[in-house]
């Protein structure tokens, strides 16, 4: 009675997900015909590249200071073994016992901020964990509990990393101010590095302030915007930035790596900072 079917199948043997017994009997796990794998693949590649680069640089423990510039990976520098930076972000609170690269101490904070960021979560859940790789493409895991239990329930601490990220951004802002000196620490000078630092700090701030937790704290938690006009306007500004959170996340990731790499080039003598004045 039923017309002949191209790919007739019996009901699924209840193997879960889209092949649950009651669902339409379709053998293919998904029927997407577009290049759905491109976005997660590109995301994974981009993140991986940054992880490799930043791991190398963080553990290098060298070539992170070229007066007047300090690599954002090493600022603030919290161990005694740190390079002495004239009026720079030295704060040896960890004393002399810290034996490895001082970048490790401070990088925990921006790393934690980005790791718990609502955009990066999407990016690596999709790109690395394939949960899901793309919309309507099944994920490979049999069981899924999301962020309901340890360790992923810890993602809820994002806002504390946001507070920490504010402090770090403050220090990096200070570093950028210091970049308006020349290599002899005289004020009122600028080089290409100053521009690199300026661009980086603007992107860092834009990314930090466009954070979803920031949006919530600034005004999103209110029930009545009309009773808090100033916070409502601030919320509006943050919301507009928040629209671009993904773009800012990538842009600031690239800019921070570039700023570090620029310092590396100067410190290793491969390149001399072109001075404008």
């Amino acid at each position: 009675m039923r017309p002949k079917l191209a790919t007739g199948t019996e009901p699924h043997p209840n193997s879960g997900g889209v092949r649950t017994g009651t669902r339409a009997a379709i053998a293919a796990p998904h029927l997407r015909t577009d290049r759905w794998w491109l976005a997660p693949a590109a995301t994974a590649a981009g993140l991986l590249a940054f992880v490799v680069y930043s791991t190398w640089r963080a553990f290098a423990d060298a070539r992170y200071y070229a007066a007047p510039y300090v690599s954002p990976f090493y600022s603030p520098c919290l161990a005694e073994r740190c390079h002495t930076m004239h009026a720079g972000p030295n704060a040896p609170v960890f004393g002399s016992w810290w034996g490895i690269s001082p970048a490790i101490i401070i990088l925990i904070f921006p790393l934690g901020f980005r790791l718990t960021c609502y955009y990066y979560r999407k990016a690596y859940y999709r790109g690395f964990w394939l949960s899901p790789p793309a919309c309507a493409v099944p994920e490979p895991h049999r069981k899924y509990t999301g962020e309901t239990r340890l360790p992923l329930i810890l993602q809820n601490v994002h806002r504390y990393f946001f507070y920490a990220a504010l402090l770090v951004a403050g220090v990096l802002t200070y570093d950028t101010v210091l970049a308006f000196r020349d290599e002899n620490y005289r004020w009122g000078h600028m080089g290409l590095g100053t521009v690199v630092f300026l661009v980086n700090i603007l992107l860092i701030w834009a990314y930090t302030l466009s954070c979803h937790s920031c949006r919530h704290i600034v005004g999103g938690r209110l029930k009545h915007f009309s009773r808090h006009p100033v916070r409502y306007r601030a919320w509006g500004v943050v919301s507009r930035l928040n629209d671009r959170h993904m773009q800012l996340a990538w842009a600031s990731l690239v800019s921070v790596a570039l700023a570090d790499f620029y310092v590396f080039l100067l410190a290793s003598g491969a390149f001399t900072d072109p001075r404008f004045f």
């Binding site: 039923r2 017309p3 002949k4 079917l5 191209a6 790919t7 007739g8 199948t9 019996e10 009901p11 879960g16 997900g17 889209v18 649950t20 009651t22 669902r23 339409a24 009997a25 379709i26 998904h30 029927l31 997407r32 015909t33 577009d34 609502y118 979560r121 999407k122 859940y125 999709r126 949960s131 899901p132 919309c135 309507a136 493409v137 099944p138 994920e139 069981k143 899924y144 509990t145 999301g146 962020e147 309901t148 992923l152 329930i153 809820n156 994002h158 806002r159 979803h212 937790s213 949006r215 919530h216 999103g220 938690r221 029930k223 009545h224 915007f225 009309s226 409502y232 928040n242 629209d243």
Partner: protein
């Protein structure tokens, strides 16, 4: 542009099994996928089951998966496909199938009932409600929802894990919680109902890993993740994971407690 003949594969069958059936069908200028399904009904498959109502993207009935992507058939123009492309139409794959393109969406109606309704403020009669536009803007965005259930269909939490259906309300109904929590006059908290807390404790907000497929498929362009789910997560953090807030509530509770 004139008419041409397109190749379609349409899933036909019921809970007892089925498969993709091949069709060749005429396509004219300006048509959408639903027009083609209707032409199949009128000319080749009179008993082809499909839900539809308004044919203008306002009722959310004609949800299906077209080339593997959850979409409204009435809002998918044929011009987005190449003429020699075979277009595959299947029912929503997260819900039990009834027949052909029709699925049992009862899951959604069940979840709708589990979200406590709007609580009118005590002491305000009809006609006395005063709300500012900026305060209703947020919940109004969520009320644009046409309940097509494409977000519920695409969300991997239930699409890929049938066993999570018990615990997880799905993006549409978590958004409903957010809508009520942001309603300027909802008085749920006066009755002891903490909507943000129950979002996590009872409606499965924690299952959401904000991978944004709900937002991607929403035909109304509602930013479900950014404007409803993430704010709701942040509100739950306020209640459950913020030590300052926790401490505050302890201190405030003490006098009344003893």
């Amino acid at each position: 542009m004139s008419g041409y003949e397109a190749r379609f594969k349409v899933w036909r069958g019921d809970a007892g099994g089925g498969g993709l059936e091949d069709f060749k069908v005429e396509v004219n200028e300006g048509e959408v996928v639903l027009d083609i399904i209707h032409r199949l009904q009128a000319t080749q498959a009179p008993d082809l089951a499909v839900r539809w109502n308004c044919k203008a993207g306002k009722c959310g009935s004609c949800s299906a998966e077209i080339n593997g992507r959850p979409r409204l058939m009435c809002m998918t123009r044929m011009s987005v496909f190449d003429r020699d492309e075979t277009i595959t139409v299947t029912p929503l794959r997260a819900f039990p199938v009834i027949r052909d393109l029709v699925t049992d969406v009862g899951f959604n109606y069940q979840k709708a009932r589990e979200i406590p309704a709007f609580v009118p403020p005590a002491g305000l009669g009809p006609g006395e409600y005063r709300m500012q536009q900026e305060d209703v803007d947020r919940p109004q965005e969520f009320r644009k929802c046409i309940e097509c259930f494409l977000c519920q269909d695409t969300c991997h939490v239930v699409r890929d894990h049938e066993d999570n259906k018990q615990a997880f309300a799905g993006p549409r109904f978590l958004m409903r919680v957010a809508e009520l929590d942001m309603h300027p006059l909802d008085a749920a908290s006066d009755t002891g109902l903490d909507r943000s807390r129950t979002a996590q404790d009872e409606h499965g907000l924690g299952y959401c890993n904000i991978t944004k497929c709900c937002t991607e498929v929403c035909p109304e362009g509602i930013k479900i993740t950014d404007n409803a789910l993430i704010p709701l997560k942040e509100r739950a953090v306020d209640r459950k994971y913020d030590p300052l807030v926790w401490l505050g509530s302890k201190i405030r509770r003490r006098p009344s407690g003893g």
